[in-house]
């Protein structure tokens, strides 16, 4: 995904600090963006659906694992019987080909895994990435070299190799969703580290950091109190882009057999097994694909909104002179 934020945020936002943040003003700016609000609503709804999966399926009277062999046409490869993939009062979104499992139940339970894993993985990525990036930017030359090399390595290693290796090392009794989130988190932090390092290097030259040092603060405290908030902006925005990409990675890991254990559904798993059904049972593919699309769209629009709201210059596109001598670059 994009390093959009390194580049986009680095030169400008720092020097354009007037009004850069302040939770109140940020919220006000966010509120002016209708699209972002709708997106935030959609994300909230998705999370709600995921959390309420047992309730929703109870309402429908189905569960995601029970087979319904009678609902599929065995002679025709197990294609669902009935129109629109077997949509009925009992099965709101039809049933899965071959197994006859309820698609609505699988979709909402899949949301749990996909969103849960993706969000957890994102948290892991951010934790590692931020620590590595901060460490590299604030440590001495050697620490920087070491951590930057580690970052290079993690970026240069093909994901799949790492995933297979980690799978092999961890006993299969280890809870799978946690493992998957960890695997994604452990291999996907490279770009965050790069962003944070670049951003921190920029920020640490600013006078307010010097002022904090003059106050007698230690490096750790400066990192936490003065730098982290500034680094957080691009990281949070990047995270909004990472979540959907992590959902796709979970799909790829399912493809490799490192995903969550069957019969637990995930959107990624559904997609990987559904692609061949595109002609015979289109809704099987379209449902998870649509869910994923809505999620990605919502998160991206929300991320966009957050970025715009974090950018103080967004308010006036064409500024005509300013009384302040602007410190060049950053």
């Amino acid at each position: 995904m994009s390093e959009a934020l390194v580049a986009v945020d680095a030169p400008g936002a720092v020097s354009a600090a007037p009004g850069a943040s302040g939770a109140r003003r940020f919220r006000r700016r966010l509120r002016t963006q209708r699209a972002a609000l709708v997106a935030a609503g959609a994300v909230a709804l998705l999370i709600l659906v995921a959390l309420a999966a047992p309730l929703l399926t109870a309402l429908e009277g189905q569960d995601p694992t029970t087979y319904h062999p009678a609902l599929v046409d065995s002679a025709r490869g197990g294609v669902p019987i009935g129109s629109f993939g077997g949509v009925s009062g009992e099965h709101w979104l039809g049933v899965e080909p071959q197994t006859g499992r309820d698609l609505f139940a699988r979709l909402v339970y899949g949301a749990r895994v996909s969103l849960g894993v993706a969000l957890a993985a994102t948290v892991v990525q951010m934790l590692i990435g931020v620590s590595m990036g901060l460490g590299a930017a604030l440590g001495g030359q050697w620490v920087d070299q070491l951590l930057s090399r580690c970052t290079d390595i993690i970026i240069a290693m093909p994901l799949m190799i790492m995933a297979l290796a980690l799978l092999a090392i961890v006993p299969s009794s280890f809870p799978r969703p946690v493992l998957v989130a960890l695997v994604i988190g452990l291999i996907g932090w490279g770009n965050i580290a790069k962003i944070v390092r670049a951003r921190t290097l920029t920020l640490k030259e600013l006078d307010y950091v010097a002022a904090a040092r003059l106050s007698g603060w230690g490096t750790l405290r400066i990192a936490r109190r003065e730098l982290l908030p500034g680094v957080a902006a691009p990281v949070i925005t990047y995270a909004a882009l990472l979540v959907p990409s992590n959902i796709s990675v979970e799909a790829a890991l399912s493809f490799l057999g490192v995903g969550v254990k069957p019969p637990t559904p995930s959107w990624g798993q559904m997609l990987t097994s559904a692609d061949v059904w595109y002609q015979a049972a289109p809704q099987y593919l379209l449902l998870p694909a649509g869910a994923l699309f809505v999620t990605v769209l919502a998160l991206t629009v929300l991320g966009d909104g957050v970025r715009t709201a974090l950018d103080p210059r967004a308010a006036s596109r064409l500024r005509v002179g300013t009384g302040l001598k602007r410190e060049s670059g950053a």
């Binding site: 995904m1 994009s2 390093e3 959009a4 390194v6 580049a7 986009v8 030169p11 400008g12 070299q145 930057s148 090399r149 290079d152 390595i153 970026i155 240069a156 290693m157 093909p158 994901l159 799949m160 190799i161 790492m162 297979l164 290796a165 092999a168 090392i169 770009n191 790069k194 882009l241 959907p244 990409s245 796709s248 799909a251 790829a252 493809f255 990624g268 997609l271 990987t272 692609d275 061949v276 595109y278 002609q279 593919l285 694909a289 994923l292 699309f293 999620t295 990605v296 769209l297 991206t300 966009d304 970025r307 210059r313 596109r317 064409l318 500024r319 005509v320 060049s328 670059g329 950053a330």
Partner: protein, 328 residues
């Protein structure tokens, strides 16, 4: 210059570290290499013979040391009837096929490079084009639609996009042949036609990121003072956007492009598998499955090499392209 030397050393260290990690990883990965290499119904005696032949029982460091020796000095291998010399940058012989890994890679590299480079051109054109358009048409309906389309690209895994594209374009509309790799040197036209779909599927995934980045940094640049200068001097909007704003948005695009080589390689694995293109990515998947250590190490190193190089190039380009970086 100093920079180049440092960067090169760093890259070498990175690659060495990667090779060590792969060795260790495969050391702990389950899968009896000798049994897999020998065949499912080999007797224990035969399996042991194979293990001896491949030096599988040597300690890890010894195997790694031989591997390094091979890279520096080359190695000799027995074919049974004769001795085969594997010349200097020797990455070993495949356990499975007994082919020299270096040659194997050289044979597959053009395919992967064709795929990734072609797709790169496409995703740059698609992504940057979409980005420019949507920055320009910010907030209008056309921008929303463009954004939606590019996001659909990111939201959908490559194997889904690729397969559907193929079913529709090749199977139902019959617009293109089902892709199969044709050498560029043999028939450039067929090469391009056959790779068109793979390029497109791979590019669609990456294009969205570029579109979004381009859009963001275009907006950023459009808000900058020098854009105001040219507007205030009566320079037309086309030139302002096309020449000045786009040029300003370029540096981050370059950086992103280099950083995306890694993920593009990941996408290439799936694309190659789906379209049956005999490239590095697909071979790597296979090699991992059959625990063909020399092939895995060799290919991961080659991929790592490209990623490291392109990241280094990105750093340089970024500094060169955005002079302000150096200045400030």
């Amino acid at each position: 210059m100093n920079f180049v030397v440092r960067r090169t050393l760093g890259a070498l260290v990175t690659l060495l570290a990667i090779s060590v990690i792969i060795y260790v990883v495969f050391y702990v990965t389950p899968g009896n290499v000798a049994q897999i290499t020998c065949g499912p119904r080999c007797s224990p005696v035969q399996v042991q013979q194979v293990a001896d032949q491949l030096h599988l029982d040597d300690p890890l460091y010894a195997r790694y040391w031989h591997f390094l020796e091979g890279i520096v000095a080359g190695r000799d291998y027995s074919t049974g009837t004769a001795v085969q010399h594997c010349p200097a940058p020797c990455l070993g012989l495949s356990y499975q096929s007994d082919q020299q890994v270096t040659r194997l890679i050289l044979a597959k590299l053009p395919v992967s490079l064709s795929l990734v480079l072609g797709a790169m051109v496409l995703w740059l054109v698609l992504g940057v084009g979409t980005g420019v358009l949507s920055a320009w048409r910010r907030g209008r309906l056309s921008e929303r639609i463009l954004t939606g389309v590019t996001l659909a690209g990111t939201a959908t895994p490559v194997f889904v996009i690729g397969l559907i594209l193929m079913i529709v374009v090749c199977g139902e509309l019959r617009l293109l042949p089902f892709p199969q790799y044709v050498n560029l040197t043999e028939d450039p036209e067929q090469w391009a036609w056959n790779l068109l779909l793979p390029w497109l599927s791979l590019a669609l995934i990456e294009a969205a990121a570029f579109a979004r980045l381009t859009r963001a940094s275009m907006l950023e640049t459009l808000a900058e003072d020098h854009i105001r200068t040219f507007r205030a001097y009566g320079v037309g909007e086309r030139s302002v956007v096309g020449r000045h704003a786009l040029r300003g948005a370029f540096a981050p695009v370059i950086a992103l492009n280099a950083n995306n080589v890694g993920s593009a390689v990941g996408g290439a694995v799936l694309t190659e598998t789906l379209f049956g293109l005999p490239g590095i990515g697909r071979e790597l998947v296979h090699a991992v499955q059959v625990v063909d250590l020399p092939v895995v190490v060799g290919m991961v190193l080659v991929i790592g090499f490209f990623v490291v190089v392109s990241n280094a190039v990105a750093d340089v380009l970024y500094a060169v392209a955005d002079r302000r970086v150096v200045l400030a």
